[in-house]
């Protein structure tokens, strides 16, 4: 999950990296009085920054410079109307304008080729790192098993906050930390003027809401978010809860991304699902959602997921399409599907394609369910290819 700048800066500050003093404002806040909190600290010149989940904010009018309350108010009102490269503005950060002497770049990311983290540093900060010449970028591969950064003696000599960043990377279970620009102020201090941090969703069990002491960041407090240029929908928020709790890893059923189309999708597995999204588009249909379950989830998880998928208004069809399963039990998971169909009784066409463990029993259950609810349904096993069943659904809808 990508963090907003202000959330990232809280983590930087926690690990001893200096950040500018600032306040976060939301829609409906009194922007002037929030600004006045900074004025009381002796800050007049401020930077007003839209809080979005991904990049190129500066080039797209997402940052304003102001020196009085009226200007701040105007800037905030304007920023909240924007959608920055498709990203919803969730909040605005108003912070002190720094006296900048130099702008540098520093990040730590995973190098998938070397399978270890890589520290990337450049004296040319403040611009996209892709636009910086290769010879102006230093890369140092790190060993995740080392508590202290080694092999960066020349960089250490520059007093860059490398150790602090490494501690953050290790202890906060991040996938990426980036400070751009890392500012050297006229008084010679390093200050993080921006923060781009992504946390690893799979490590959430190490960041619980229980009172684990002040050293552990409580990930449950992060607000719900999506990168689709809007607030997350109630369905998206509800589905996330399916995979929470102690047995979160027993099957995955917590994936739902709401899209603009009208075909409900219940897919299986991360690979087949993206191929089937492509296949649906190829027959001219539009998905209402992206949803998959996998890893042999129990009946209850599947039922909860199917109920939410089918609750979207305006659906014209349902495509339940999955592979010949290796270990997901078809009977157990179809029991969950039947639970949802019994409640919702859809009238639009349904096409199912699936096979695997106990598929005969699973399909028999689904057939009975179809009979008692008068469903308009066609069912296929492995003899019919997945893509072919997209075409069948398209023809049923056309009738």
């Amino acid at each position: 999950m990508n963090l907003y700048e202000f959330e990232g800066k809280n983590l930087l500050a926690k690990h001893g990296i200096k950040t500018p003093r600032g306040v976060v404002v939301r829609r409906g806040d009194d922007f002037v009085s929030k600004y006045n909190e900074l004025v009381k600290l002796g800050i007049k010149d401020v930077v007003v920054k839209a809080q979005v989940l991904s990049g190129k904010r500066g080039k797209n009018n997402g940052i304003k410079f102001c020196d009085n309350g009226e200007e701040v108010k105007k800037a905030c009102e304007e920023l909240f109307t924007l959608n920055i490269r498709g990203q919803y503005v969730a909040a605005i950060l108003i912070e002190e304008k720094l006296a900048i002497a130099e702008e540098h770049y520093i990040s730590i990311v995973y190098d998938t080729n070397k399978k270890q983290p890589c520290l990337i540093y450049s004296k040319q900060g403040g611009m996209d790192i892709e636009d910086v010449a290769e010879e102006k970028i230093e890369k140092v591969w790190l060993d995740i098993r080392e508590e202290n950064v080694v092999g960066v003696e020349t960089l250490h000599a520059t007093s860059l906050p490398i150790d602090e960043l490494w501690k953050l990377f290790l202890n906060e279970d991040t996938r990426q930390v980036e400070i751009n620009p890392l500012v050297k102020t006229k008084s010679g201090e390093w200050v993080a003027a921006d923060a781009k941090i992504a946390i690893d969703d799979d490590a959430f069990f190490r960041h619980p809401s229980a009172s684990s002491g002040p050293s552990v960041t409580d990930w449950t407090k992060f607000e719900p978010r999506t990168m689709l240029g809007r607030l997350p929908t109630s369905r998206e928020i509800a589905v996330k809860k399916i995979d929470e709790g102690e047995k979160y890893y027993q099957g995955t059923a917590g994936k739902y991304i709401e899209l603009d189309g009208d075909i409900a999708m219940i897919l299986n597995g991360g690979g087949a699902s993206i191929a089937n999204m492509d296949a649906l588009a190829q027959v001219g249909l539009k998905a209402a959602n992206y949803t998959e379950y996998s890893g042999n989830p129990p009946r209850e998880k599947v039922a909860a997921l199917a109920r939410i998928v089918l609750s979207k208004p305006g659906l014209k069809g349902l495509w339940m399409c999955g592979v010949v399963a290796n270990f997901t039990n078809i009977k157990e998971t179809f029991l969950g599907i039947c639970d949802a169909l019994d409640e919702i009784k859809p009238t639009y066409p349904i096409v199912v394609r699936r096979d695997g463990t106990e598929s005969a029993a699973g399909f028999a259950l689904l057939e009975e369910c179809a009979k008692r609810n008068n469903l308009n349904i066609k069912m296929f096993k492995k003899e019919t290819g997945m893509s072919a069943t997209a075409q069948i659904l398209a023809e049923m809808i056309e009738k």
Binding site: N268, G270, M386
Partner: protein, 296 residues
């Protein structure tokens, strides 16, 4: 010949007392793979599927010095300790079934395995099958004999389901598989597409390979490099899924954990790069079998 496993493969199942671990052990035994024992801390002395359970891999290895392969079915929060235990005990091949392991733990284990010369297959890998020889994990599930038969085409995917589905389409066309490998869908993986292709290159049984690839990450680009360096020279056909994702915002994750939308790393860009080194590109995954059939 075969890749990753052969008749000398001797397996320990870590987490065999759990539900999925027991299923995994049974799947391997049913396919005539030698499973010697299981390991679950504090459950030593029990028996599962007629095989003894030990408290540690070290104990198991002391009993059977020729134990050379581990398959790991433990919950994500216990995975790091389990993998490190197998590495420390000197196990050569470690297949990690566990999904949703924190990336930091995976990186830690991969650094340790590289140092010790152990190979990790996964995480999030359902395993590998060499039809007629044996299987690690549950590839093929209970329909394994309907889907797999010995043949000359290798199969690789980050998707367990598609590993099966591609193998099935080969069978429908009257072909068989030399081996099918599920490398796992995580951002970091112990054994990549390119690693598996290098193994297929050396395998006399394999005449060609089909791969189900996907948007995001750079593993498909490693294939381009392997072909340029002539580390892989046999026919190869690929389908890259996730074309629809090119309209989604950069940084968004859709599909496997490693499938993050990135400009320049979309399905179309990958297909184009692979085509320049002579890889056959399928428009639909079903076409892969037609592309590779002339070489089988």
């Amino acid at each position: 010949m075969s890749i990753l496993i052969d008749k000398n493969t001797k397996v320990v199942v870590q987490g065999m007392t759990g539900k999925e671990g027991q299923k995994g052990a049974k799947a391997m035994l049913d396919y005539n793979t030698t499973v010697l024992c299981g390991v679950t801390p504090n459950k030593g002395g029990q028996e599962v599927e007629g095989k003894p359970i030990f408290n540690s891999v070290g104990e198991a290895k002391a009993q059977w010095p020729d134990l050379n392969t581990s398959v790991i079915y433990v919950p994500p929060f216990a995975a790091k300790a389990a993998i490190l235990e197998a590495i420390e005990a000197g196990v050569a091949l470690i297949n990690v079934f566990t999904e949703r392991i924190p990336i930091k733990d995976t990186a830690y284990c991969l650094a340790a395995s590289q140092e010790k010369g152990a190979r990790v297959l996964g995480p999030s890998s359902l395993g590998v099958i060499n039809p007629g020889i044996g299987r690690l994990g549950v590839v093929g599930g209970p329909l394994v004999n309907e889907i797999f038969q010995p043949g000359s085409i290798g199969v690789v995917s980050r998707s367990g389901g598609m590993t099966n589905e591609l193998s099935w389409s080969l069978r429908q066309a009257g072909l068989g598989q030399s081996a099918a490998v599920h490398v796992g869908g995580d951002l970091l993986m112990g054994t990549t597409y390119a690693d598996v292709l290098r193994l297929f290159e050396k395998d006399a049984n394999t005449k060609g390979v089909i791969i189900f690839g996907e948007h995001g990450g750079s593993y498909e680009f490693e294939i381009v490099e392997a072909i340029q360096k002539k580390e892989y020279t046999k026919p190869l056909a690929i389908f890259i899924g996730g074309k629809f994702a090119s309209s989604l915002p950069e940084g968004m994750n859709i599909g496997h954990a490693g499938a993050i939308v990135e400009r320049g790393k979309g399905a179309a860009e990958k297909a184009a790069a692979l085509a320049t080194v002579g890889v056959m590109i399928a428009e639909q995954y079903e076409d892969l079998v037609n592309l590779i059939k002339p070489y089988a």
